[in-house]
Symmetry: C2
Subunit: 152 residues, 2 copies
């Protein structure tokens, strides 16, 4: 353990990144599903699925990070880090696709459909914005972990 990359696996900043990811994806899921008929739009179902994948992923890695911080011995196995980096990249690509799909459908609903009540539409919009935040946070995690990879 020569040097610590801030934000990578097993650091305090890594833990806070994971917690932020959990919060943002949970908020996105909440805004999308509470009292809103999201299941009639494919893009919104996709968003809910992906956010439902990000939450357990970030939760597991937050547990790993928290444990590493407590025992002061970060995980440095190459194979484990490779799995985590791959998962982060795949999830960040999926989160970007879900966020932009949802955002474009919200935009379309706002411009064309008179049936889109302002109350619902602003919820959808907040959900898409939170999904973009989730994408951004998981991209940061993926970048910091990939930075760590060659040193192992």
């Amino acid at each position: 353990m020569d040097e610590e990359v801030p934000g990578s696996l097993g650091t305090t900043s890594g833990l806070s990144l994971r917690l932020l990811q959990m919060i943002s994806s949970f908020t996105s899921l909440l805004f999308m599903s509470l009292g809103v008929e999201f299941y009639s739009y494919t893009a919104f179902c996709f968003l809910v699925t992906i956010m439902g994948l990000v939450i357990p992923w970030s939760f597991t890695l937050a547990l790993v990070d928290g444990y590493s911080v407590l025992i002061k011995c970060p995980v440095r196995q190459r194979a484990i880090l490779l799995i985590i980096v791959t998962g982060d990249w795949v999830l960040s690509v999926l989160a970007l696709a879900a966020a932009s799909s949802a955002a474009s459908v919200v935009d379309f609903l706002r411009s064309d459909q008179p049936s889109c009540l302002p109350k619902f539409c602003s919820r959808y919009l907040l959900s898409a914005a939170m999904a973009f935040l989730t994408w951004f946070l998981s991209l940061i995690s993926a970048l910091f972990n990939i930075w760590l990879l060659p040193s192992l």
Copy 2:
């Protein structure tokens, strides 16, 4: 020039990747804009903008690749490669966002709007599929070039 990474800058496979990117983004642009009212949907305007950015970018890099192949001396300046890698990543992220936005709007139009004529809708769908192909090809270029970066 110790080893050549296939698909990276200045190789024949890199040149063919760039040409494929140009063809796919041009096809996407063509299907979207010919005879179809794309400007009434934000997602489609975004797609047209991004594809309009990908075409000159890929064209320039195809010229660089072709020249490098002809004079048998690939560009190996770190700064230039860094700019190209950054551009490839940014464009591939934007292409993914544009493709998924367009695909979700097409899906929404197909399911809800009776006004979506099958002739137009299949064109939109083909355009979105081509945009996904463009994203995939520029991701491959970005990955191969980033692979080359540490060796410089």
